[in-house]
């Protein structure tokens, strides 16, 4: 359908497609097979029953954004021909230690109900879920012969024994991704088995798993897996990988390993990295080791310096040699000075992440800390930016405005204002936030975590008003009164997922605000004026909307109310509310109270 959506009058011809007298079913199958975008697929499936059925039969990939939204059985009934499935489990807060271990998100029902019946399934991606050895055993039994892609992203609950099973049974495996999983280390054989049995492996990632690695197994991997392009490993001294790098000539991406002894120049002198390498990260790399990167710095596209010991000056020197960077991840030791170098050098930069370094007095780096100066420089210098995530020590309205003016391609913007500096240059950020949202029209993900006084009620209403196509938001320490939240909610038409932390809102206001947002299907809140029972949350009770409540800690129970009669902000209380077709889940832990359905 070209041009604007057709006027109603011209739809009569289109209707003939719907009622069956027009295009034959096989043709519709073929046409829909070319429609990949999930939003297009969703729209097509809602057009009429026939299209709904054909979409269901031809859909290749489904992402279940929250594992308790729908049951595996229902998914199977609708999409029997799935080739690829992604399921997400625990709230993002789990990455910050805020979700108890027994919270839920078990992979077991998904594997049990889907692994065998989904006969076309060749890719499985689970994020923040509990996966046991038995689950992987069941998966491998049912699908091992055709599994091409297994991604366990920040999952926990399994051991290297299960990895051995995967390694021995999945000969078609092209991608094995285990980054940041918590894995019980029962030995290194799994890597040896993988190297021996999987000739078509293209991507292997066990970064940040802290599993023991035997260098000889990696060399075997390099010899056997000629297609290996991307390898991210756990800790293993770089000097032990000299042999590996000599064999893995096709390698384009590498991260992990470590510099176990700083300043030992002779030890690392013989390390020669593969010539096609364009994505790199090295743990504990220091000033004396960074020259390793210089030979290929000009072709580097991705650089991860988050886990290095480089100083601000080191960052400046290194990044000045990397004009082709697309993706850069650093800690805030890079400083404003380093960001200035990024702005001058990395004109093609698409993704920038500035993580939070050590705040402790004496531990933090001298010039470390990023402010409006660096942010503005980057906004002006790197016009191709699509994603910015930054922990800043200081910020101004002007910096946010600059981002809105210059970063027109931005679809993901996240900023956290650190709490160490007492006085922030320019608060509240109402106007800057408004200009950023107005300028960055492609924004789909937005996070703003400030401090009291950082954004007024008016500013919060601006966020709602200019939320545009934003689908995910994390808001922390924003607004002043319930009114701010209500005004915000009134504007958010497309918001699907909301996380609120450390905010002053009442339970009643939260519930009423959630009712205002037509696209909202998931909300997580921690740090608000919670009651003991979460009673006011029932104001948002409605069909297909689950409400889970983690009550305030018992020490607050005895405490008298605040002077204004409102409950004080409790750090323990959480609310998780989400669209669900299942009804109440059966595996919630002791700490969680299901309010609705009760």
């Amino acid at each position: 359908m070209g041009g604007e959506a057709p006027e109603p009058g011209r739809l009569t011809r289109a209707l003939s497609i719907l009622d069956g007298s027009g295009v034959p079913e096989e043709a519709l199958h073929l046409v829909l097979a070319h429609v990949d975008d999930p939003r297009d697929r969703e729209a097509a499936s809602l057009a009429c029953r026939r299209w709904h059925r054909i979409d269901a039969l031809t859909r290749k990939h489904v992402t279940v954004p929250f594992c308790y939204a729908v049951s595996p059985a229902r998914l199977l009934a609708r999409f029997p021909s799935l080739e690829s499935l992604a399921v997400k489990g625990k709230p993002r807060a789990a990455m910050f230690g805020l979700i108890p271990d027994d919270w839920g998100a078990y992979a077991q029902p998904w594997v049990a109900h889907l692994a065998a019946p989904l006969e076309c399934l060749k890719a499985l991606h689970l994020r923040r879920m509990v996966v046991t050895d038995d689950d992987l055993d069941a998966l491998v039994r049912a699908r091992g012969h055709m599994l091409q892609e297994l991604k366990l992203d920040k999952c926990s609950g399994f051991s290297t024994d299960a990895l051995r099973l995967v390694a021995r049974s999945c000969r078609s495996l092209r991608t094995l991704f285990l980054e940041e999983c918590t894995i019980t280390d029962n030995g290194t054989e799994w890597l040896h088995d993988l190297a021996a049995n999987n000739p078509v492996l293209v991507t292997l990632n066990f970064y940040l798993t802290y599993l023991t690695v035997v260098p000889a197994d990696l060399e075997l991997l390099a010899r056997n897996c000629k297609s290996l392009i991307s390898l991210k490993i756990s800790d293993c001294d770089l000097s032990d990988l000299i042999g590996f790098f000599q064999i893995a000539t096709s390698l384009e991406e590498f991260a992990g390993a470590e510099i176990s002894e700083q300043g030992e120049l002779r030890k690392y002198a013989d390390v020669k990295l593969p010539s096609k390498l364009c994505s790199f990260g090295l743990t504990f790399m220091g000033t004396n080791e960074m020259h390793i990167i210089f030979p290929f710095s000009a072709v580097l596209k991705k650089l991860d310096l988050q886990y290095t010991f480089l100083t601000t000056e080191d960052h400046c020197q290194l990044i000045a040699k990397c004009p082709n960077l697309l993706v850069l991840a650093v800690r805030n030791v890079i400083g404003d000075r380093g960001l200035g170098i990024v702005a001058d050098t990395c004109k093609k930069l698409q993704r920038l992440r500035i993580e939070r370094g050590d705040d402790e007095p004496g531990m933090q780096e001298e010039e470390g800390g990023v402010s409006q100066v660096g942010l503005t420089a980057v906004a002006v210098g790197c016009r191709e930016l699509e994603s910015i995530a930054a922990y800043v020590s200081d910020i101004t309205n002007g910096a946010l405005e600059s981002i809105g003016t210059f970063c027109k391609n931005l679809y993901d913007f996240r900023i956290v204002l650190l709490d160490k500096q007492e006085r922030i240059t320019d608060l509240p950020l109402d106007n800057g936030v408004r200009e950023l949202l107005r300028g960055c029209t492609k924004l789909r993900r937005f996070a703003l975590y400030l401090r009291p006084g950082g954004l007024s009620d008016v500013g919060l209403s601006y966020i709602g008003q200019h939320s545009g196509t934003i689908q995910y938001m994390l808001l922390g320490n924003l607004g002043e009164t319930d009114g701010g939240l209500i005004s915000f909610a009134a504007g958010c038409r497309n918001l699907r997922k909301l996380e609120l932390r450390s905010c002053c809102f009442s339970e009643r206001a939260l519930a009423l605000a959630m009712l205002q947002m037509p696209s909202l299907r998931y909300v997580w809140v921690q740090g608000y004026r919670a009651s003991q029972t979460g009673g006011d949350l029932m104001l948002m009770a409605r069909p297909f909307w689950n409400i889970e409540f983690t009550p305030p800690s018992t020490e607050n129970a005895g405490r008298p109310m605040e002077e204004d009669g409102q409950p004080c902000i409790d750090r323990h209380a959480q609310v998780l509310a989400y669209c669900s077709l299942i009804g109440k889940r059966s595996d919630y832990p002791q700490s969680v109270v299901p309010l609705h359905p009760a």
């Binding site: 990455m95 300043g263 886990y307 009291p452 009164t481 921690q526 204004d564």
Partner: protein
């Protein structure tokens, strides 16, 4: 026209034409099929129960704010199912609990009529500092200092920073620089500080 309203409701700048066209098709199909009963709204797998309903009365954000403010002022019993069509009924004179906080004391009056509460608030408002229109929420403003004190770290970075700390301590176990507040400009312990890191490995050579 309802279809156009549907478009506006989904209203994304530079929207997806295919998705928009599908939406219109569905709307048309529904309207055509209504007589025969064929086009009755399907039980979809869409996990947004409200999103694909056409809003029968197009409510402006300002109206929605006002309706919700009223709900905040005149609390209903929890457990009632709320949706847009019910909100207008709240405006009829009703009785509800009135709570007054004054000078640290709390007064609670049950079954207080809504119209009297309205008058009471207007009276109180006339004594107060210039507040604005009726739309402003009369709600105790929350003290700014209360918030979650912690700003948790991601587990992976936490682990790295701890390892960094132990490496620094191992290289120079007797740091001279005292622990100072972050905002002071005193140089931290001269370890891994750029320039001459090899000095720090042999801590005995440090002159301080």
């Amino acid at each position: 026209m309802a279809a156009e309203q549907q478009m506006r409701v989904k209203g994304t700048g530079g929207g997806n034409r295919f998705a928009a066209a599908c939406g219109l098709l569905r709307q048309y199909q529904y309207m055509m099929g209504q007589g025969s009963g064929r086009g009755a709204a399907m039980a979809t797998m869409g996990l947004m129960p409200g999103a694909d309903r056409v809003e029968a009365a197009h409510v402006t954000p300002e109206e929605r704010i006002k309706n919700t403010m009223e709900l905040l002022l005149f609390p209903q019993r929890p457990g009632t199912l709320m949706d847009n069509s019910h909100q207008s009924r709240i405006l009829e004179p009703e009785r509800a609990q009135l709570t007054i906080f004054y000078e640290g004391r709390t007064f609670v009056l049950d079954n207080f009529p809504a119209d009297k509460a309205d008058q009471l608030m207007q009276l109180a408002g006339s004594f107060a500092a210039p507040a604005a229109s009726d739309d402003e929420l009369v709600c105790p403003s929350m003290p700014a200092q209360h918030l979650l004190e912690d700003m948790p770290r991601k587990a992976s970075l936490q682990r790295f920073l701890e390892k960094r700390k132990s490496r620094i301590a191992a290289a120079d176990p007797y740091p001279v620089a005292p622990a100072r507040a972050a905002k002071e400009t005193a140089k931290p312990v001269a370890v891994g500080d750029g320039g001459a890191p090899w000095l720090s490995v042999n801590s005995g050579l440090n002159l301080n």
